[in-house]
C-alpha cells in the first residue's frame, strides 16, 4: 500500500526554474484515457499517464524508480497533440527531469 502525499506535485513544480511561467507541472486535467501511451513511438507504457498519477498522488518512490523511463521520452509530443484534455505532457516530462536531476542525481 502506498501512503499518499499531496506535496510531491508541489515539489515537482518548485523544482523547475520556469515554475512561474504558466508551464509548471500540471496534469490534473488528465482523464486517464490512455491515448498518450497508445501513440507513444517509444512504446513507453508508463508515460505519461501512470507516471503523472504517481506524481499527483505523491508516490515518490515510484517516480524515482522510473528515472530511466523519464529520460527515454523523446519529447516528440505525439501524445500531446492527441491528448483530448490538452495536458502539456512534454512540459510535464521536462519538469520531472528537473526534479529527478535534483533529487536523484543531486545536480
Amino acid at each position: 500500500m502506498a501512503l499518499l502525499n499531496p506535496d510531491l506535485a508541489d515539489q515537482v513544480r518548485q523544482a523547475t526554474p520556469w515554475s512561474s511561467s504558466g508551464h509548471e507541472f500540471n496534469a490534473s486535467a488528465c482523464m486517464n484515457c490512455g491515448v498518450c501511451g497508445a501513440v507513444c513511438p517509444m512504446g513507453i507504457e508508463l508515460l505519461p499517464r501512470k507516471l503523472f498519477r504517481y506524481v499527483l498522488l505523491g508516490m515518490e518512490d515510484q517516480v524515482k524508480e522510473n528515472t530511466e523511463t523519464i529520460y527515454s521520452c523523446l519529447l516528440c509530443k505525439m501524445c500531446e497533440v492527441n491528448c483530448p484534455a490538452g495536458v502539456h505532457i512534454a512540459e510535464n516530462v521536462r519538469s520531472l527531469r528537473h526534479f529527478i536531476n535534483r533529487q536523484v542525481f543531486r545536480l
Binding site: G34, A38, E45, C83
Partner: protein, 659 residues
C-alpha cells in the same frame, strides 16, 4: 423635503458577516431626506416586508431604500411590498450590499465603508424618483414554433391542446427531425418511428396546428405578445391541394441523388419525400438537381402525375404573420468527425457515425434494416464503437460532454448482438448513465449482450486486408491493445445547427461559445431566453436525449400558454422619453437603438411672432423600448432620458459617491 426610509438587511450572515450593520444604520440616519432606519435579519421574509409596510404608514414615508441583495433577486418583491402600502412601486431603490459588497470583500471595515457608499447612492437617487405607471398591451393569441423535430412537435401539440393556435415552421420537407432517423430508442428499445409517427399525425390533423414545412423564418420584429414574423415558404413546385402523395412522380424521376435523410448512404430522386412516413406526404422538387430546371427538358413527373399537381413555375412566397410567443426548437446536428484523421472517417467507408448506423439498422433505411457494411455489403462480425468522438476533446474544439453518446453506444452494442450476433467492442473514457433505467440498460449491453467495454481511447484506425485495426490502450490493464474490426462506429458529438447563430441574430436571443442557445437562468429559468416571449425547447439549447427534450418542450409550451392566456400584458415604464422641446431632430438615436423603437415624427410648434412651424423630433415606441439607454448616451442635446434613470438620477448618484 422627502421622507426616505432605509431598511438594512442582514441576509443572515451573508451580509452581516462582512458588513457592520450598526455602522451602516448610523451613517444612513445622517443622510439627507432619511427620516427612518431599520434593520432586519431577512428583509425579504414576510415579517421583514411587513416591517417596511408598517414603517411606511406610521412614519409617513414617501420613498424607500432597501439595502440587501441584487435587484435581480428581490426588486419585484419589494416593489410589491411598497405598493401594498400605498406607495408607487417605482419610489423604491435597492442598494446591493450583498453581491456587490459582502460577498466580494474579504475585509469587514472596507466592506462596511462600501456598503455605506452604496446606501448613500440609493438615498440620493430615490429622492429624484417620481411615480411611474405601467401600461398594458394586447397579446396576439397565436404561437410560432421554429423547428419540427420531437421538441417542436411536442410543444405545438401542448399549445394546441390548450386551445391556442400554433404554426410550426420546419426547414426540411417533413417534420420529425432526427428522431425520425433513429431506429430503436434507449432505454426501452421501442421503435422510434412507432412512437414518433402518431405524434406527427396528431400534429398534422390538429385543427389548431398549421404546418409550414420547406419554410424558414426570415425576419422577426416586435416584442413579447406582438411579434411580426416573415416566413419564407420555399417553392415546393407541387400544388399541395391537388397532390395525393401517390408517389408516381418520384418513381418516374430519372435524376438520382444521395439522400440527406439517409446521410448519403442511400439515394433519393430530384422530386422526393425524405422518408416513407413523411408528413406532409407531399414531395418537393430539388431545383438545383432537377433535370428540367437544369436543362429545360424532362418533365417526367408532370407527364405521369395523375393529379396534375406539378407546378414548375411556383415561386418562393413571403408570408407575414403575427404571434404572441415564439418557441425555438431547431435541434442539433451530428458532428462531422473528419478532423480525426487518425480514425479515417471519409477515407475508410466502413468507419461510420452513430447516426449513419441508425440508418443502417432502420427498416426504412438504405439496406432495409440489414446491417451490412457500406464498402462491400458484408455482414460485420466484430464492430468497434468509439465513444467521445469530438466530445470532451478541447483540442478538436468541443469541450462539453454530448450526454447521449454513452447511451446510444450501448444501444448500438445491443442491436449489433441482437440483430446479427456481431461482437461489439466499446472504447470509452467514462460511461455516464444518469437517467431512469439507464444504468440498467448499460448493464444489459455488457451482461446479456457481452459487449466488451475497453477503458481507453482509440489512437489510430488503419486498414489491414479487409479489416480495420483499432489501436488503443486498456488503461485498466495498462496494456496496449488492438482490435481487428469489420466496421467502426464513431459516437460523434451532438453540435449546434450550422445556422444557429444566424437565427439567434434574427430573433435577438443569445447563444453560448458552442452556439447552443442560452437560457435566461441555468437553474431557475431553463426554458426562457433573455428576450421576453421567446422560449427554448430541445437540443438547440444543449445536447439532450428524447425524454429530456420532450419534458423541456412541454415546459416551454406551458410558458407560452401562460403568456397567450393573458388578456393584456403589463409593460415596464422604465423606457426612453424624448424632451421634444430640446430635441433637434437629428435622429442620431434612431440607428443606435437595437430594438428599432425610435422613429422621427413631425410636430407643429408656435414660435415667436405667433407663427406655427413644423419640425421633426424623435419619438419612442414605448412597447418596443427595452430601456437599455443607448439613445440617451448618443443624444447630443440631452433630450433623451430613460425614465427612472434620467441624467438627473445618474448625476445624483455620482454626487453621492464622489462629493
Amino acid at each position: 423635503m422627502r421622507r426616505v426610509g432605509v431598511f438594512v438587511c442582514w441576509c443572515g450572515s451573508n451580509i452581516a458577516g462582512m458588513v457592520d450593520i450598526e455602522q451602516v444604520k448610523a451613517a444612513a440616519a445622517k443622510m439627507p431626506n432619511v427620516v427612518y432606519v431599520e434593520d432586519n435579519k431577512y428583509t425579504c421574509s414576510e415579517p421583514g416586508q411587513a416591517a417596511i409596510q408598517k414603517a411606511i404608514k406610521e412614519q409617513n414615508l414617501d420613498r424607500v431604500v432597501v439595502a440587501a441583495c441584487s435587484p435581480r433577486m428581490h426588486e419585484n418583491t419589494f416593489r410589491r411590498t411598497v405598493s401594498g402600502a400605498g406607495l408607487n412601486a417605482y419610489l423604491l431603490e435597492i442598494a446591493n450590499i450583498r453581491e456587490h459588497c459582502s460577498w466580494v470583500h474579504p475585509d469587514k471595515a472596507a466592506g462596511t465603508k462600501k456598503a455605506v457608499d452604496l446606501v448613500r447612492r440609493a438615498v440620493y437617487k430615490v429622492a429624484k424618483n417620481v411615480p411611474l405607471q405601467r401600461a398594458s398591451i394586447d397579446v396576439t393569441k397565436k404561437a410560432l414554433v421554429i423547428g419540427g423535430g420531437i421538441a417542436g412537435i411536442q410543444a405545438a401539440l401542448d399549445i394546441a391542446d390548450a386551445g391556442q393556435p400554433v404554426v410550426i415552421v420546419e426547414k426540411t420537407p417533413s417534420i420529425g427531425g432526427h428522431m425520425a432517423q433513429l431506429d430503436k430508442t434507449f432505454p426501452t428499445l421501442d421503435c422510434s418511428a412507432c412512437i414518433l409517427t402518431p405524434k406527427m399525425v396528431d400534429a398534422a390533423q390538429n385543427q389548431n396546428i398549421t404546418l409550414m414545412t420547406w419554410s424558414e423564418v426570415e425576419k422577426v420584429e416586435g416584442y413579447i405578445g406582438n411579434f411580426t414574423v416573415t416566413i419564407r415558404k420555399k417553392a415546393r413546385h407541387i400544388d399541395t391541394t391537388k397532390c395525393t402523395g401517390c408517389g408516381i412522380c418520384w418513381s418516374k424521376c430519372p435524376a438520382k441523388l444521395p439522400s440527406e435523410f439517409d446521410l448519403g448512404l442511400g439515394q433519393r430522386k430530384a422530386i422526393y419525400v425524405p422518408f416513407p412516413q413523411a408528413i406532409p406526404n407531399k414531395p418537393v422538387i430539388d431545383e438545383k438537381n432537377c433535370i428540367y430546371f437544369k436543362t429545360g427538358k424532362c418533365k417526367a413527373c408532370q407527364i405521369f402525375c395523375p393529379a396534375g399537381a406539378i407546378a414548375f413555375d411556383q415561386k418562393d412566397e413571403l408570408i407575414e404573420e403575427k404571434f404572441g410567443a415564439i418557441i425555438v426548437a431547431t435541434g442539433y446536428e451530428q458532428w462531422d468527425p473528419s478532423p480525426y484523421g487518425e480514425y479515417g472517417y471519409g477515407r475508410y467507408k466502413d468507419v461510420i457515425t452513430g447516426l449513419e448506423f441508425e440508418r443502417l439498422v432502420n427498416a426504412s433505411g438504405p439496406t432495409e434494416g440489414k446491417i451490412k457494411r457500406p464498402s462491400d455489403g458484408k455482414i460485420p462480425k466484430d464492430v468497434v464503437i468509439i465513444q467521445c468522438v469530438g466530445s470532451r476533446d478541447e483540442a478538436k474544439g468541443i469541450p462539453y460532454c454530448s450526454k447521449t453518446c454513452c447511451m446510444y453506444s450501448a444501444k448500438h452494442a445491443i442491436l449489433l448482438d441482437e440483430k446479427i450476433h456481431a461482437h461489439p467492442y466499446v472504447f470509452y473514457m467514462d460511461v455516464r448513465t444518469p437517467g431512469k433505467g439507464y444504468e440498467e440498460f448499460y448493464k444489459r449491453a455488457t451482461e446479456e449482450h457481452h459487449a466488451t467495454y475497453i477503458r481507453g481511447r482509440v489512437s489510430k484506425v488503419y486498414q489491414k486486408g479487409d479489416k480495420l485495426v483499432c489501436l488503443g490502450e486498456d488503461t485498466l490493464l495498462g496494456k496496449k491493445v488492438a482490435v481487428e474490426a469489420d466496421m467502426v462506429i464513431l459516437a460523434s458529438a451532438m453540435v449546434h445547427q450550422p445556422a444557429a447563430s444566424k437565427l439567434a441574430q434574427t430573433l435577438g436571443i443569445s447563444y453560448d461559445q458552442n452556439h447552443f442557445y442560452t437560457e435566461a437562468h441555468a437553474k431557475l429559468r431553463p426554458v426562457e431566453t433573455n428576450t421576453a416571449g421567446i422560449f427554448l425547447a430541445g437540443a438547440c439549447q444543449g445536447p439532450k436525449d428524447i425524454p429530456e427534450t420532450v419534458a423541456q418542450a412541454s415546459a416551454a409550451a406551458s410558458k407560452a400558454i401562460g403568456l397567450l392566456s393573458k388578456a393584456k400584458l403589463e409593460t415596464e415604464p422604465l423606457v426612453a422619453q424624448v424632451n421634444e422641446g430640446i430635441c433637434s431632430g437629428c435622429l442620431w438615436c434612431k440607428p443606435i437603438c437595437p430594438y428599432k423603437a425610435i422613429d422621427g415624427k413631425v410636430i407643429k410648434e408656435r414660435i415667436a411672432g405667433g407663427k406655427t412651424i413644423e419640425r421633426t423630433v424623435a419619438s419612442v415606441n414605448a412597447s418596443l423600448c427595452q430601456g437599455c439607454g443607448a439613445c440617451t448616451v448618443a443624444c447630443r442635446t440631452g433630450a433623451m432620458n430613460v425614465l427612472g434613470f434620467t441624467n438627473e438620477h445618474i448625476l445624483a448618484e455620482v454626487d453621492a459617491l464622489c462629493l
